[in-house]
């Protein structure tokens, strides 16, 4: 009797397993500078699921909001959290030096690395991921300029392939579910 129960439970759980999302055409390997000032290559993270988003630290809303959301995602992932790495790519390298990135990311409870580089290096990655940003001068403000940027959150599998594009409105639940489906087949 006991063997049958185990067999049925196994079959049901296998059936319920989420299908791996398809590989998307955006994405790819790149090299930038990390928040310790060292050279960083995406390929060094093989074996981990990756979350990537673009932003800048002088942005008071989008980036802290996304980072708080991802901190909650990490909490909900439990032991699987160790298999996920978050990369925050700055589109404002003039202001976002490695030290600034390291400082600002340290306030959040998740495994995140800040990445910066030359404008050319960042533009290459932005184009690779189909993201976008624009520096807009704001002479009337103490800010000098503001940066408009895309808000998509990219989820990559352990082989570095892009699997899911989460919109800004994606909830903690959406992201956890998506990551679990990526991790299940990674």
């Amino acid at each position: 009797m006991h063997k049958w129960v185990v067999a049925v439970v196994l079959l049901v759980s296998l059936g319920c397993q989420r299908a791996q999302p398809p590989v998307l055409s955006v994405g790819g390997d790149f090299a930038l500078t990390d928040d310790n000032g060292h050279r960083f290559e995406l390929s060094s993270l093989r074996g981990k699921a990756i979350l990537i988003f673009f932003g800048y630290t002088s942005c008071p809303d989008v980036c802290p909001t996304t980072l708080s959301k991802l901190s909650s995602v990490y909490k909900k992932l439990g032991p699987d959290a160790a298999r996920v790495k978050t990369l925050f790519i700055s589109v404002d390298p003039d202001r976002d030096t490695p030290a600034v990135l390291k400082d600002d990311l340290s306030s959040f409870d998740l495994d995140a690395t800040g990445l910066t580089g030359t404008k050319a290096e960042i533009d290459k990655v932005v184009a690779l991921y189909g993201a976008s940003y624009e520096i807009i001068p704001t002479p009337q403000s103490a800010m000098k300029y503001t940066v408009a940027h895309s808000t998509t959150l990219y989820a990559l599998d352990a082989a570095g392939q892009t699997r899911i594009l989460f919109p800004y409105e994606a909830t903690v639940g959406d992201i956890v579910k998506g990551l679990k489906s990526i991790l299940a087949s990674s």
């Binding site: 103490a142 800010m143 895309s150 808000t151």
Partner: protein
């Protein structure tokens, strides 16, 4: 009229003008009793920054629409009104010169919408600290805001 009397009259007129000016000035900067701000909070600034965003709800109990034309603070070098706008997955923060509060209505300042940007905070705040700003309205009156610092 003799010169002495002219001077005395001129002096009296000058004093009267100063007095009226002061009275007028006080009336202009008087706190507006019918427009109030509540549930105000400011985000704890990022470690490398002395800038942050302030959110609140501004309520207008008068039968006329009111507009916030400027913001001031003693707690930072400057305060400005800003707005977050999302267009086709692209988010941008832009300074705005005024924000209106509808008659018998309210305007919410929240993440993803309007907020007050505070640049150059004079002291790094801790959770629970209070930050004060003053909103100046189009009719010359003011609205005090006390925001609590949160994560």
């Amino acid at each position: 009229m003799s010169t002495k009397r002219s001077l005395a009259l001129a002096w009296r007129l000058f004093l009267a003008a100063c007095f009226l000016g002061l009275v007028g000035w006080n009336a202009l900067n008087a706190q507006n009793a019918d427009v109030t701000a509540h549930d105000a909070w400011a985000r704890l600034p990022a470690k490398s920054k002395m800038d942050t965003a302030l959110y609140m709800i501004v309520e207008n109990r008068t039968p006329q629409s009111r507009t916030i034309v400027s913001v001031s603070t003693d707690d930072a070098a400057s305060a400005e009104m800003h707005q977050m706008t999302m267009n086709k997955m692209i988010m941008v923060m832009t300074p705005v010169s005024q924000i209106s509060i509808p008659a018998k209505g309210k305007t919410s300042f929240d993440p993803n919408g309007f907020h007050i940007m505070l640049f150059g905070l004079k002291m790094r705040p801790e959770l629970g600290d209070k930050i004060h700003v003053t909103l100046k309205l189009d009719d010359g009156t003011t609205v005090p805001v006390e925001a609590i610092v949160k994560k």
